[in-house]
């Protein structure tokens, strides 16, 4: 029998964006609650991050790779507490980080909001589903989340409703961004410097970015906001107990109520933590895995997995550009084609994002051919002479795209997990349209050669919608307040809740949503 601890009010599972924001807000709004957060991984040691080392490049394909499956194969142990994911049934490979801070430890910190239309796709466009609330209901939480994380950017973007002045000026565009902007200007298209959860100047006790480059291998000087350095210090100061290296095994559900969590502690002992309410925030894969393993009965659980289908076009330029200088995901973006235009042959839109360029090893590895004299020529043509535009499309909720369990029991004690995802014809049309536009802008900017990557497998950062909100228990897992239809004191507080996903990076919305779910719970308890 697992040891049984004294009951607490709320157990939160997962210390990433959703869990951290939820804990910080709930502890602020309901300070008398005893809140415990279980996190399967530990704190990251910035002194051990690769950016200090001469062999930093190889870390990007080994212990600091974005994919947990790659990290598990690395010759040295990763600081991320990973579990394997059977991704053989998906063209996109799930990416994440398991530890305090979750995937904000190794994210790119591009921090856009959804558009108002993203919350009403069924009403406006007859596809997907409406969220149970709208953009302007979430807007105050976007603002709170921005303030907590610290955002560099520029107000006045006409692609969005007015936003408050950004806390810090935008990150510099560099030669790469200025060159890309030339293409957008030539075509008369929208572009804007990104909102980034990265300090462009010193802010809130954290340094300004020094444009070192490898954001996805952690930020050594805390210029990049990750929730281990933003929300967690607040939450802990307010009394939230964070228990690292504790792996939730099961949410105990009895008579339609969640009564506690069985977890494996840092010493490998099984422990039962009783609680009055439980909130799960383990991302679209981890949350679904745990809830499926716990026997939560919901026909929608694990289904409607969405990633944001992604593709690239890379343009080669004669002039010397920056290469891998600056935050990888944060130069500029265009929402010229974000809203629906039926003439394009698909509904909803695409996000075009000008990123910074790859490090030499990453560029060399993806060349075709990757060896021989032609590889050298291609590497010289590209390195410091290329601009990549990422095309993100909005995939629509489809029940057959899902997270499921395998017959294996993994080393962490939980059933194995697999993802099954098929790129829809609709998504393919969206991506192809976006690729055409990206190629157009690169050529307008002066590219002498362009190369397409029609599908980018290692872009599965956005793990969304597997425990979606809604009104109908047949097609959704939770209600609008994040409470499971079948077990009302069991909540979800991460991107699993999204009914639809827009075409932009989700972290800003995950944080805002977790703040709202925390407020709703605090209100219910009061």
């Amino acid at each position: 029998m697992p040891a049984r601890l004294d009951p607490v009010d709320v157990v939160v599972i997962g210390a990433g964006m959703g869990g951290a924001a939820f804990c910080a807000r709930l502890s602020e709004r309901a300070p008398k609650l005893r809140i415990v957060c279980l996190e399967r991984g530990g704190w990251v040691d910035t002194a051990a991050m690769p950016a200090w080392r001469r062999d930093w490049q190889r870390a990007t394909i080994n212990e600091w790779a974005s994919s947990p499956n790659l990290r598990l194969k690395a010759p040295s142990r990763s600081p991320s507490a990973d579990y394997p994911i059977d991704d053989s049934g998906s063209p996109f490979k799930p990416l994440m980080w398991s530890g305090v801070g979750g995937s904000t430890v190794n994210w790119a910190a591009h921090f856009p909001r959804l558009h108002p239309s993203d919350f009403k796709t069924r009403t406006l466009d007859g596809v997907g589903d409406d969220w149970p609330f709208g953009y302007f209901d979430l807007e105050p939480y976007y603002d709170l989340n921005d303030a907590a994380m610290g955002v560099s950017g520029l107000a006045g973007d006409p692609a969005y409703p007015p936003k408050p002045a950004r806390t810090m000026p935008p990150l510099t565009l560099g030669r790469l961004g200025q060159t890309a902007a030339r293409g957008f200007d030539a075509l008369g298209w929208h572009w804007w410097p990104v909102d980034a959860a990265i300090n462009s100047i010193p802010h809130n006790g954290r340094a300004g970015c020094n444009y070192c480059g490898p954001c996805q291998q952690g930020c050594v000087n805390y210029a990049k906001a990750s929730v281990d350095v933003t929300y967690w210090p607040q939450a802990i100061a307010r009394g939230v107990e964070l228990r690292p290296h504790c792996i939730a095994q099961q949410v105990v559900i009895e008579g339609g109520r969640a009564t506690g969590v069985i977890y494996r502690d840092a010493d490998g002992r099984e422990v039962t933590q009783p609680a009055a309410a439980i909130a799960v925030a383990g991302n679209g894969i981890g949350t679904a895995r745990l809830l499926l393993a716990s026997g939560l009965e919901s026909p929608a659980l694990g289904r409607h997995l969405m990633f944001h289908p992604a593709a690239y076009v890379r343009g080669m330029f004669r002039e010397e550009l920056d290469g891998p200088v600056g935050p990888i995901g944060c130069a500029l973006y265009s929402h010229e084609f974000y809203e629906t235009d039926e003439r394009r042959g698909f509904r909803r839109g695409v996000h075009l994002q000008v990123t910074r360029e790859n490090i030499p090893l990453m560029q060399a590895l993806r060349l075709e051919p990757a060896w021989g004299r032609d590889a050298h020529r291609l590497l010289r043509e590209e390195f410091r002479h290329s601009i990549a535009i990422l095309v993100l499309a909005e995939d629509l909720p489809e029940a057959h795209n899902r997270v499921g369990l395998t017959d294996r029991t993994e080393a962490d004690g939980l059933p194995g997990v697999k993802v099954e995802y098929t790129l829809s014809e609709h998504s393919r049309r969206s991506l192809d349209f976006g690729l055409d536009r990206a190629e157009e802008v690169l050529r307008a900017a002066g590219a002498w050669r362009v190369v397409r990557l029609p599908l980018a497998p290692l872009t599965g950062w956005h793990l969304l919608s597997t425990a979606r909100m809604g009104r109908d228990p047949a097609t959704s897992v939770t209600n609008a307040r994040g409470r499971c239809h079948a077990v009302p004191n069991l909540l979800v507080a991460d991107g699993s809740l999204f009914p639809t996903v827009g075409a932009v990076n989700p972290a800003s919305t995950i944080g805002a949503l977790a703040l709202k779910i925390a407020d709703d719970l605090a209100q219910d308890i009061a």
């Binding site: 690769p50 950016a51 200090w52 080392r53 001469r54 062999d55 930093w56 490049q57 190889r58 558009h115 108002p116 239309s117 919350f119 009403t123 406006l124 953009y135 520029l154 006045g156 973007d157 006409p158 692609a159 409703p161 935008p170 510099t172 565009l173 902007a181 200007d185 008369g188 929208h190 804007w192 410097p193 462009s200 970015c209 020094n210 444009y211 070192c212 480059g213 490898p214 000087n221 920056d322 290469g323 200088v325 600056g326 929402h335 010229e336 974000y338 809203e339 030499p360 090893l361 060399a364 590895l365 990757a370 060896w371 021989g372 590889a375 050298h376 590497l379 010289r380 390195f383 410091r384």
Partner: protein, 136 residues
């Protein structure tokens, strides 16, 4: 498996050109690869006829032998290539030839000019547009 054969294989993978050094000229020591990727080297030797024949072969014949092994055992070949490229891309002569630096990203980072007023003014064209988002 001689050091000469191992060197010939890695220099077939990364032969160098007018600007970039070959793998061995960049300072890579091919001997450690043999322990972890023995099967690939054996397959290349077998494909060529023997290690000695591979050593005597011209560039075209060496490339053909390597390409055949790449086709026959893509995963194992890719693992070797990844190991060699990992060493190559952090070799100072290679980074210098690419116009990059061999120091790690930190603590210095990169000096860049901040976002400037000229860029903000340039955005005036975009700022004056309206109707890019739809009211629900």
């Amino acid at each position: 498996m001689t050091p000469e054969f191992l060197a010939a294989v890695v220099d077939t993978l990364l032969p160098g050109d007018d600007a970039l050094p070959s793998a061995t000229r960049a300072g890579l020591n091919p001997t450690p690869y043999a322990a972890l990727h023995r099967a690939v080297f054996d397959a290349i030797a077998a494909q060529a006829g023997s290690a000695e024949i591979f050593l005597r072969a011209d560039e075209s014949a060496r490339n053909a032998a390597v390409r055949a092994v790449e086709r026959a055992a893509p995963d194992a070949f890719r693992t070797l290539l990844t190991a060699v490229l990992s060493d190559y891309c952090e070799a100072p002569p290679v980074l210098t030839a690419l116009g990059w630096r061999s120091e790690p990203p930190q603590p210095t980072g990169h000096a860049v000019s901040p976002f400037d007023d000229a860029t903000t003014e340039r955005l005036g064209r975009v700022r004056r547009r309206s109707g890019l988002w739809r009211a629900p």
